[in-house]
Symmetry: C2
Subunit: 321 residues, 2 copies
């Protein structure tokens, strides 16, 4: 949740004037997204989200994200739709940053996931995978297994200050995953960050997805592994089997997992837990003085990693044969 | 700018169901207001601001603020209008905090005040004073001259860590003000915090005022003194005489200052500078670890204080005889 960049009225008015959306009626920085500055923009033409891309998002990746949102929206997925300006551009410059306007999606992010959310989330993940199947863009997943060792190296010296033994345990988990990581599983565009705050519900129905700024090409089943990590644990750290079953069943209602995917799922779940633990650990150990954003707890994902280390088979966390 | 409190979907839905504004369509925490948590709320009935009052706002003051906003709106001032629930209450409880829903005001807060803003701001201050003249509520100004010594006592030991000599200079300024502070000037309800982010403009016209949570009963001319502090200095610390003239002339176009007010204005301006310097200094010296809000620079108001110490008469900062 953040607004990192202040935009002057003059800059904003000049930027908006390039679009066919009327004059600005109001603009509010919103506490949403940790990577970018987001503003809820009301103009004579409607309600929009204005995003300023901060340094953690690479400029060369932006066309991929924009094209993906357009593709998915055209293929029936309810997600923000980039608005093009009069020159046909969806990306511009504002306050020295790349900036885009997307349509506003009604709905409320989930803050307490329940079993009722997990089925629809599994389903929408499969829907996204199917809708993205003929998408032409490609973006490698910088945060897959080959990206974890550099993160570990950046964090290892401070790891034991977070909890004793974390360094050795993480080194061992990482070495195992580097050895075991599967190859050749069904792949395509994945969301790669489908956490509860990125899924909107309205009156009990899933109403849309946001935040495609980690989307990339990777194994479909890895996206499901991220979902199981993000949605199916209770606050006390325990895994909720009913949630796991609901999510996997929801996913399979649209796309049936192959035997190879089912076999790899425990490894992918461990990998997903390690990935979020590592990025959180790096953030945790590198909070700049005066930071406005409180880092997320890496130990939450250390506990999830340990759960998945104790799971041999996908049936241990909700797959039904 | 802050969202301090997380509200669960269930709590929110239950709270909203007490009102006749339809179901929730979306709710976004917004980066506005340093004292409370604010959410931009869209329901089937329209767009609103939902405010959760955090601990710095006293619960017993809330009925004053709510009644004042209703009174001012009824008297033609464009400001948020509290929405009453089906039981006729404008104040409720949400996530263990007092909470209110107010109407959403279109318009954009000013982030770079220009001369064109200062006239309308002076005018709206006078409009507020006139509109509030028959308001029945009363709230003493806890941050007037009698409230400054406790703030100074809380900050004095750390003052010189902010800039050398600040403690002695502040002590001297405070002692002078305690001696010279005027009595018996025309009084009534004042806004007491009319900073640029609390004044909305739309297409070059002042479109409304927000944030009445410092409003209180005090000298009208003290409100103007706060305005001169908040709007009429440049970023380099210099006082812009054209802005000062525009604001005072704007004010007097609706309410002419009495000779006693004109005579007292230099003291009131010094007082306003000291008041904001002291509250900022206390905040600066008491940033909690892990704070999400960056404190504002107290030295900005120390410089303003020194400017007004060098001004003998109101003509030195924009009053025209």
């Amino acid at each position: 949740m953040a607004v990192y960049t202040e935009v002057s009225d003059e800059e904003l008015a000049a930027f908006i004037s390039l679009y066919d959306i009327g004059g600005v009626l109001s603009v509010k920085g919103i506490a949403e997204g940790v990577e970018n500055s987001n503003f809820l923009l009301r103009t004579e033409g409607g309600t929009f989200i204005l995003t300023l891309y901060e340094k953690r998002v690479k400029a060369e990746d932006l066309p991929f994200f924009i094209a993906l949102m357009e593709h998915l929206a055209q293929h029936g997925l309810n997600c923000p739709q980039p608005v093009r300006n009069r020159s046909g551009e969806a990306l511009g410059q504002l306050a020295d940053r790349a900036a885009a306007i997307v349509t506003f999606l009604e709905g409320i992010g989930v803050n307490r996931p329940t079993v009722q959310h997990c089925g629809p989330v599994g389903e929408v993940l499969a829907q996204l995978h199917l809708a993205g199947a003929d998408f032409k863009g490609f973006r490698a997943n910088a945060l897959s297994v080959s990206g974890w060792r550099p993160l570990f190296d950046a964090a290892k010296d401070g790891a034991d200050t977070v909890t004793p033994g974390l360094r050795d345990a993480t080194a061992a988990a990482l070495a195992d995953l580097e050895q075991e990581w599967p190859q050749g599983l069904p792949s395509g565009v994945i969301h790669a960050d489908l956490f509860p705050d990125n899924v909107f519900f309205l009156k009990g129905e899933l109403s849309g997805l946001i935040d495609f700024y980690f989307a990339c090409n990777d194994f479909y089943a890895y996206d499901l592994a991220i979902g199981l990590n993000a949605w199916c644990f209770e606050k006390d750290g325990s895994f909720n089997m009913t949630k796991g079953r609901a999510m996997i069943a929801g996913y399979q209602s649209l796309r049936v997992l192959t035997p190879a995917e089912v076999a790899a799922l425990p490894i992918l779940c461990r990998g997903a837990a390690l990935r979020f633990m590592l990025t959180r650990l790096v953030d945790w150990l590198n909070v700049p003085p005066g930071a406005l954003v409180r880092p997320k707890d890496p130990l939450e994902y250390y506990r999830k990693l340990r759960f998945f280390q104790s799971a041999d088979k996908a049936t241990d966390f909700g797959y039904v044969e």
